[in-house]
């Protein structure tokens, strides 16, 4: 997995490189908008981290150029907390997520992983969290290495949760989006499926737990943490 970090502060980019390298990413650093645009044209990165404040120009220009060149890679932007407009403009220009400085490294890693876990992302085919592993193509689930069977709908819900591991899955995700539009209407509401799913994860000895955030949705998180 190859990442491009576009950041002019070399102390910060150095730490990013070593930390992301530790968990298996190959990281290239671009310290200017010109370098970044050149690098993005040359290499097919799996994701990019883009600081909007660059010495030779607007980070947004890099983003716009990449999108216009047809690059679909997930891009996470780093912005200043007090520049709300930057944040909005970044998302409008095609950024996939944003993080404000100062940020925790764990948060950055979680965000990058979440982006890569999207369908089409480099981690989007086989989802892994804790001792749970889900092959989204073959629809095969193993918990602690042991194959486990779930109903199709439970599997679909688990997939959503694993793609957004550690982050909220809104309870209001439309059912079509969850199950596909061609399926027959479901008689059981989502909370019922979640209830079953939770019990089966427990029974299979998964070190993941589903937390209910009343009124909002669900969060899949490590139970060991």
């Amino acid at each position: 997995m190859r990442l491009l970090v576009i950041e002019d502060e070399d102390r910060l980019s150095g730490i990013l490189k070593s930390k992301l390298g530790e968990i298996g990413f190959t990281v290239d650093i671009a310290a200017s908008a010109a370098d970044a645009t050149a690098a993005l044209e040359l290499i097919n990165y799996d994701a990019a981290v883009l600081d909007l404040g660059l010495p030779d120009g607007d980070g947004l220009a890099v983003l716009t150029a990449a999108r216009q060149a047809g690059k679909a890679l997930p891009i996470l932007i780093l912005t200043a907390r007090d520049a709300v407009e930057d944040r909005v403009a970044g998302l409008n220009a095609g950024a996939d997520d944003y993080l404000t400085k100062p940020f925790a490294m764990t948060e950055l890693v979680a965000r990058i992983k979440a982006l890569l876990r999207r369908p089409g992302g480099v981690l989007g085919m086989t989802l892994e969290a804790g001792n749970v592993r889900l092959d989204t193509i073959g629809r095969e689930l193993t918990i602690g290495g042991i194959p486990t069977r779930l109903s199709r709908r439970e599997l679909a819900i688990l997939e959503q949760m694993m793609r957004r591991f550690g982050r909220i899955v809104p309870k209001a995700v439309p059912e079509e989006k969850l199950y596909g539009i061609d399926e027959e209407p479901d008689s059981n509401p989502i909370p019922v499926h979640v209830h079953h799913l939770r019990r089966q994860l427990e029974a299979a000895g998964a070190n993941l737990g589903i937390h209910t955030i009343r009124g909002v949705g669900y969060i899949l998180a490590d139970t060991t943490a």
Partner: protein
């Protein structure tokens, strides 16, 4: 005027009242004087006419070839009936007495020089048996018996004409004066009040100026010329203060901004260290510092930019996003957040980013005070309000007036908070014209209610 009177309005009114009183006294006095003068001149003409009348009835006696007065019966009666009231004496061109109303007059006049053709007016004091004052005229007149010196006088104390004119004046005209003075005074007081209105407006404006509204200035329009230099000088002073304020705020913002990169680096470096107790303690501390810098930046932003609060904001959706984004952190801390209340959109007018900031700060505050294993409940109310309730120790009544002050922390506060969160909430509430209240949550805990104006 009284130096102790501090009110300009009162002082002007009192001074004007005094002025009016003096002026109206002068006016009334003048009027009385000129009325008396008029009456006097009317009386003088009357005397002259009477003298001519008398002269007309003087003829040359055929027998003695001397001038002789032949008054018609009516006049005769009029003169001699009131012998003490009206007196006269007529002398011929040689100074011999022709006729006199009383012998004393005759005796007295005999010593006088012959009269001139110009009337000469005189006064007699304590004259005659009744010792009255008389005013009279002496004039030379032609008659059938040649030139005559005619003297006519009238007891002045008893002049009914003058009295009646004065009486008429006092009753018909002078009573106008007190109401006129009163009305003029009222008008004066009103106009003084009116001219001081711009100063009142300026002071009202001045009392609205504070750290939150440093851009306000005193209105210079319509301010009286005399007060304008003061108002202008105050405004210039405010300009200089505002500049100082702006520099101060810019410094805070820049300082916080500059702290961000080193903090990011420290945070990242700490994350790469293998964790023992020391490192995780450091991490917590840096986390607090991060939060503080973030809040300082938020405060600086709220101070520097006028917030656009005119956009429609869906409180329900906003609450869902904020709760969703904070839920994971709460879970890591063994607490949960729940969202209840309205199921559908609740739209208010405001600034979505700012309201989200306010809600985030309220939830953070609640999470910091509620016990592990408990829930912070965020509720969206259909009438355009959000409440955040925890089950912590609650907020003592004596602390409630202070919790929204910057850097204020309660006695029992734990070390992590800088006391900025609720101040930020208050700034946002103020910018929205919204309201926030603190109350007790049954059975225990604190509850904050944020009410917005609905769209």
């Amino acid at each position: 005027m009284n130096r102790r009177i501090k009110s300009l309005q009162l002082r002007l009114t009192v001074e004007l009242a005094a002025l009016f009183l003096v002026a109206s006294c002068l006016a009334v006095g003048g009027l009385i004087y000129s009325a008396a003068l008029t009456a006097g001149s009317v009386a003088d003409r009357e005397l002259a006419l009477r003298a001519e009348d008398l002269a007309r009835y003087v003829s040359l006696d055929e027998m003695s070839q001397k001038p002789r007065l032949d008054l018609p019966a009516t006049l005769q009666q009029a003169y001699f009936a009131a012998a003490q009231q009206s007196v006269f004496a007529i002398r011929d061109k040689d100074g011999r007495l022709v006729e006199a109303s009383t012998p004393e007059i005759g005796t007295m006049v005999a010593r006088w020089p012959p009269a001139d053709s110009e009337p000469s007016y005189f006064r007699l004091s304590n004259f005659g048996p009744s010792a009255q004052d008389y005013s009279g005229v002496s004039i030379r007149l032609d008659s059938a018996a040649g030139p005559l010196s005619v003297m006519v006088a009238e007891a002045s104390g008893g002049d009914p004409l003058v009295h009646s004119i004065l009486r008429e004046f006092v009753f018909d005209i002078a009573w106008y004066v007190p109401p006129f003075v009163a009305v003029a005074l009222l008008l004066a007081a009103y106009s003084v009040r009116r001219s001081l209105l711009p100063l009142r407006a300026a002071s009202a404006q001045a009392s609205a100026i504070g750290p939150e509204s440093i851009a306000l200035r005193l209105p210079e329009a319509n301010v009286p010329t005399e007060a304008l230099p003061l108002v202008v000088a105050v405004n210039h002073a405010l300009d200089r203060l505002e500049q100082g304020f702006v520099i101060q705020r810019r410094f805070t913002a820049n300082a916080a901004h500059e702290l961000r990169t080193p903090l990011t680096i420290i945070t990242a470096r700490l994350d790469t260290l293998e964790g023992n107790g020391q490192v995780s303690a450091l991490r917590d501390e840096v986390g607090r510092m991060n939060r503080l810098v973030e809040q300082l930046l938020c405060v600086a932003r709220l101070d520097s930019v006028a917030m656009d609060v005119s956009a429609p904001v869906d409180l329900r959706q906003l609450a869902e996003e904020v709760v969703g984004s904070m839920a994971h952190l709460a879970l890591l801390d063994c607490r949960t957040i729940a969202l209840t209340g309205a199921e559908h959109s609740v739209v208010v007018t405001g600034n979505g980013v700012a309201i989200a900031d306010a809600l985030r700060n309220l939830i953070e505050n609640a999470l910091a005070h509620t016990a592990q294993g408990t829930e912070v409940v965020v509720e969206v109310h259909p009438e355009g309000a959000i409440s955040v309730a925890d089950s912590g120790p609650g907020i003592p009544a004596e602390d409630r007036p202070h919790i929204f002050e910057r850097f204020w922390r309660g006695k029992g506060a734990r070390a992590e908070g800088a006391g900025l969160g609720l101040a930020i909430v208050m700034e946002i509430v103020r910018a929205h014209g919204a309201s926030i209240t603190v109350s007790d949550q049954a059975p225990r805990g604190a509850r904050f209610d944020l009410r917005f104006r609905t769209a």
